[in-house]
């Protein structure tokens, strides 16, 4: 990867380095905060008897999109997790698409992905404990026999690592390949400028297609595991 600009904050002896990917993520949070504040004000004033238009319509479509991803897997008892999923889906979708404007993807930083995956993992565990109490949860780990307890623990710990690595590998590989192609175009100039006709397709595949598909996979799996924590008890 090329050396990216880093922001270093110094307070006395304390030194805080903010990498470009994390800085981009903070900017996304800042802008989405304002966007949703104003959207919320608009929605409060909107007339429910008329067809929505403008910002209200956009927000309704975003809500439908989120429901399309998670509604099939969340049962009725866990449908109150939708706002949480919606926040994370929007955050990750916008993060995956920042490669289009030439910035570094926040999702190509492994700590960001790990944060998302650990958030999902905590949600599953919280739901699992809430369902039947802590003791019942520990008993569940010894099923079907006590010898299998280590395997069950590994099975509980594997999904967040798998989610992290899948997202990280996909986005990092995409950004590295895009960077390599741009370097190639730069090195074989002036004939290389013909290659610029190729780059829109590369961005289409690695940024738009791969980013959207990975978001879909991540949250389908996340909501699937969350829905699983309920169905056993309900049935």
């Amino acid at each position: 990867m090329s050396q990216v600009s880093e922001i270093i904050i110094r307070i006395g002896d304390f030194k805080l380095e903010i990498q470009q990917s994390i800085f981009v993520w903070l900017c996304i949070c800042f802008f989405s905060m304002f966007f949703f504040y104003f959207a919320g004000k608009k929605i409060e004033k909107a007339d429910p008897s008329k067809a929505p238009k403008g910002l209200v319509y956009v927000c309704e479509e975003i809500y439908n999109l989120i429901l399309y991803v998670v509604q099939g897997n969340l049962k009725e008892t866990t449908l109150h997790y939708v706002p949480m999923f919606g926040t994370l889906i929007l955050l990750m979708l916008v993060s995956n698409l920042t490669g289009l404007i030439g910035l570094q993807n926040p999702t190509s930083n492994v700590s960001f992905n790990a944060t998302l995956a650990v958030t999902m993992w905590l949600m599953w565990q919280y739901q699992a404990i809430k369902k039947g109490g802590f003791v019942a949860r520990l008993k569940e780990l010894t099923e079907p026999m006590w010898l299998l307890t280590p395997l069950n623990i590994i099975g509980e710990l594997a999904p967040p690592i798998s989610l992290t690595m899948r997202l990280f590998g996909n986005i990092l590989a995409g950004s590295i390949i895009t960077l390599m192609i741009y370097t190639l175009i730069k090195n074989i100039a002036p004939w290389g400028y013909l290659g610029l006709t190729l780059t829109p397709f590369i961005h289409m595949y690695f940024d738009v297609f791969s980013g959207v598909i990975q978001t879909y996979i991540f949250f389908t799996l996340g909501s699937f595991f969350l829905g699983q924590q309920v169905s056993k008890e309900a049935e």
Partner: protein, 81 residues
């Protein structure tokens, strides 16, 4: 036994290349899933939307092993190479 720095570097890059052999199984698996998806759409064209979403999910899950090998290769290249 002391190893030359360049020997370590070369071996790390070689290891990265060998790690990517895992792409073989991933490619076969994804092709198999896509083929079955096309077959089932041919048999039942009305359900194409549902088949497509399940197929994409399965393909992305099959991609996991390939992505693991990719992460290992990237680590070898950027840490040791």
């Amino acid at each position: 036994m002391e190893f030359n720095q360049f020997f370590v570097q070369g071996m790390a890059l070689l290891g990265a290349g060998i790690a990517m052999v895992a792409g073989l199984g991933q490619g076969i698996g994804q092709g198999f899933a896509a083929g079955k998806g096309a077959e089932s759409v041919g048999r039942n064209p009305e359900a194409s939307g549902k088949i497509q979403s399940i197929m994409v999910l399965g393909i992305a899950l099959a991609e996991t092993t390939g992505i693991y090998s990719l992460v290992i290769a990237i680590l070898l290249i950027f840490v040791k190479g």
